[in-house]
């Protein structure tokens, strides 16, 4: 580990020194990602946080002082029992909570969506295919190859069309 650390530390010293005001030509590192981040470098001025910085400053100090007072009460004066060792031992129960949520309802929900994709979305697709095939297998029976049957169907169709025209009065 020693050699990588030496290399990294030397490089970081060089990287830092390049930013010193020697020459503008050495400052290319700060423009390295320019097209990516250039236009998104935002000023914080004019934001709520900037306008209320003294309020936030006060809040931070009060919270820090309250923490100091609380720790004095728990450990120096022993007026309050310490609750956090167990919580910290379990790393805030963070891993356990995540594992329970992801492993239980998480997996169930993901499985449900995947099944939805396979059955409903893809089912509709294959259903359309099955429908076309089904309709085809019925309709093809009319294709018997008997010329007289075809002639009869054409004649029937002509009569129906004529009847329709007459009924609508288009031939009058």
């Amino acid at each position: 580990m020693l050699i990588p650390l030496v290399v990294l530390s030397v490089l970081s010293v060089i990287g830092g020194a390049m930013q010193l005001p020697f020459s503008k030509n050495l400052h290319f590192l700060e423009h390295w990602l320019e097209p990516v981040v250039e236009e998104s470098e935002r000023s914080i001025k004019g934001t709520w946080a900037y306008d209320n910085k003294y309020v936030l400053l006060g809040v931070a100090i009060v919270v820090a002082l309250a923490g100091i007072a609380l720790s004095l009460a728990v450990y120096a004066k022993r007026r309050l029992p310490a609750v956090e060792p167990k919580v910290l031992e379990n790393a805030w129960y963070y891993d356990a909570t995540v594992a329970r949520i992801v492993g239980g309802p998480g997996v169930a929900a993901f499985d449900g969506i995947t099944r939805f994709d396979a059955r409903v979305v893809d089912g509709a697709v294959n259903g359309a295919g099955a429908l076309a095939r089904g309709v085809g297998s019925v309709v093809r029976r009319s294709q018997t190859g008997f010329v007289r049957a075809y002639a009869a169907i054409i004649a029937l169709g002509t009569v129906v069309l004529l009847a329709w025209f007459v009924w609508r009065g288009w031939l009058a």
Binding site: E34, V36, E39, S43, A109, T114, D117, V121, V125
Partner: protein, 517 residues
């Protein structure tokens, strides 16, 4: 601008390089069929020469590309069917440049790196026809010509999946074909209607994309209907939810080279189409349709990621991850800011590289173990550490780790879309986390642990495979560390496109940065 003045304003290049890019693979395909029959050992050599020449031409285009010109370059314009205003009109700008280069580079890599199991001659011929079709789609500036290439692509892909695929190849190939054909029907109607309805504004019937976009003025209703027709065709190709289910089947059943090309460049014909023939031709309708497309894109991001997480087949997992990644690209495309669209264009290329490499890796696993089931793979890291290392780098690039290519594109899309599609971006960002979930979980199950009997014999990466993957990893790292050369070529054309939209609609891109100064 008339076509003549357009041609004059572009680079005065004597040699029709874009035509050569399209014709070269076709010549190669004929060569493979003809000379391969005479001498079997020439087959692969001819295919390699043709695809490497095409790749070299595309790199030459990259090198000669003028970054200060946002318009179309290397334009080649010839009358084809003058009675209908159909012309052989080719040209590229910053949006199509890297897709052309990606196509040029990807094909020789898969031809050199992956061998079919049988019938090498027709396989290589189809692959070269496919390359010509894809190239043609990316350089066409004539709607009719584009449609021809867009359709040509289907045929070789159908035969590649159906002829050289796995168990369910015929089902997958048919599904792929029917889905895309159904979409193409809308596209054809849309193309014809666009030319006809623009006749009065342009003065004659023309299928020329540039003239239609610059001079055409459709009514609001007509523009919207036509945009929907185009968008349906491209949504199938991308694919967007809910017309995505051809993709997991096609990707999984296709031979490795087919999957790499499918993910690498074919899907990009959809996102590229949305940009070139959606936003450029129908600015008003694109602005109007944004909420719908954001929603479909974000559904794709989350839904694709969730479905990927639960897949038991490694190749299907990668296929579903494409649905998620392409969702990001569509989101960036329609967020219509300089950054989001640039990020989208960049991500088209990035996804092609990293997902292409992932399919190669999964293919190599299948070659060795004859299974893609995650449950049957275990502990590969111990027996094949170099293989695992390559897999890790490619996977991290797909996740979007800073320092690798996937990050740059994804970051640009998200930050660029934040002002115009804020809530969709917030939901979409969950997809970044899910990407880490499905890929890392798969990596853990496949590579970690103790290898069992079946996995102990897993062979380490061979030299040829290593060289092939090194090419991908080199692109992944270079783009991730130094994206500037790529973005400086994409950005001028993207800016011009957004200005084109702003000039024709009341949409205004939000002013970026420098708030309150």
């Amino acid at each position: 601008m008339t076509p003549a003045s357009l041609a004059a304003s572009s680079s005065a290049l004597g040699f029709p390089i874009l035509t050569a890019l399209v014709v070269m693979p076709l010549v190669g395909a004929l060569g493979v069929l003809w000379f391969g029959r005479l001498r079997n050992e020439w087959t692969k050599l001819i295919a390699l020469v043709a695809s490497i020449t095409t790749g070299a031409l595309s790199l030459w285009v990259l090198q000669a590309f003028d970054t200060s010109d946002a318009g179309f370059q290397f334009v080649s314009l010839h009358e084809w069917i003058p009675a209908w205003g159909i012309s052989w009109h080719l040209g590229i700008d910053g949006i199509s440049l890297f897709l052309v280069v990606l196509t040029g580079v990807l094909f020789p890599l898969v031809i050199a790196g992956v061998d079919p199991h049988h019938d090498e001659r027709p396989y290589l011929a189809w692959l070269l026809v496919l390359e010509a079709g894809v190239m043609g789609s990316f350089v066409s500036l004539d709607l009719f010509l584009f449609f021809v290439f867009f359709e040509i692509v289907l045929v070789p892909m159908y035969f590649l999946i159906g002829g050289w695929g796995y168990d369910q190849r015929v089902y997958a190939a048919t599904k792929f074909f029917l889905f895309t054909m159904a979409g193409s029907a809308f596209l054809l109607v849309g193309i014809v209607a666009t030319a006809m309805l623009s006749r009065d504004a342009v003065g004659e019937i023309t299928f020329d994309v540039v003239r239609l976009a610059e001079q055409g003025s459709l009514s609001v209703d007509a523009g919207r209907w036509l945009f929907v027709a185009f968008a349906i065709a491209f949504a199938v190709k991308v694919p967007l939810f809910p017309v995505h289910t051809w993709l997991p089947d096609a990707h999984t059943q296709a031979p490795t080279a087919g999957s790499v090309i499918l993910a690498g460049v074919l899907l990009k014909m959809g996102t590229y189409g949305l940009l070139r023939f959606g936003v450029y031709l129908f600015p008003e309708a694109s602005v109007w349709a944004r909420p719908m497309l954001y929603t479909l894109a974000v559904i794709g991001i989350i839904y694709g990621a969730i479905a990927a997480t639960m897949q038991k087949d490694l190749k299907r997992l990668v296929a579903y991850s494409s649905v998620a990644h392409l969702g990001f690209i569509v989101l960036g495309t329609f967020a219509l800011t300089d950054q989001s669209v640039s990020g989208g264009v960049m991500q088209m290329v990035n996804h092609g590289v990293s997902t292409g490499a992932l399919f190669l890796l999964v293919g190599m696993i299948y070659e060795r173990r004859h299974t893609r089931q995650i449950a049957e793979l275990r502990g590969l890291q111990q027996v094949a550490p170099v293989f695992a290392g390559f897999f890790m780098i490619v996977m991290l690039s797909s996740i979007g780790l800073p320092g690798l290519n996937g990050f740059v594109g994804e970051f640009l899309i998200l930050i660029g879309s934040f002002d115009t599609a804020r809530w969709w971006v917030i939901i979409g960002t969950v997809g970044v986390v899910l990407a880490a979930l499905y890929l890392l979980w798969a990596y853990q199950r496949v590579f970690h642990g103790e290898p069992d009997e079946a996995n102990r014999g897993f062979a380490e990466l061979r030299l040829r495979e290593g060289l092939l993957l090194s090419a991908f990893v080199a692109i992944i790292i270079f783009t991730g560390v130094y994206p500037k050369p790529m973005l400086s070529r994409i950005e001028p054309s993207v800016k011009a496109l957004i200005e084109h939209v702003e000039a024709r609609t009341d949409y205004r891109q939000p002013v970026q940065g420098l708030a309150g100064e």
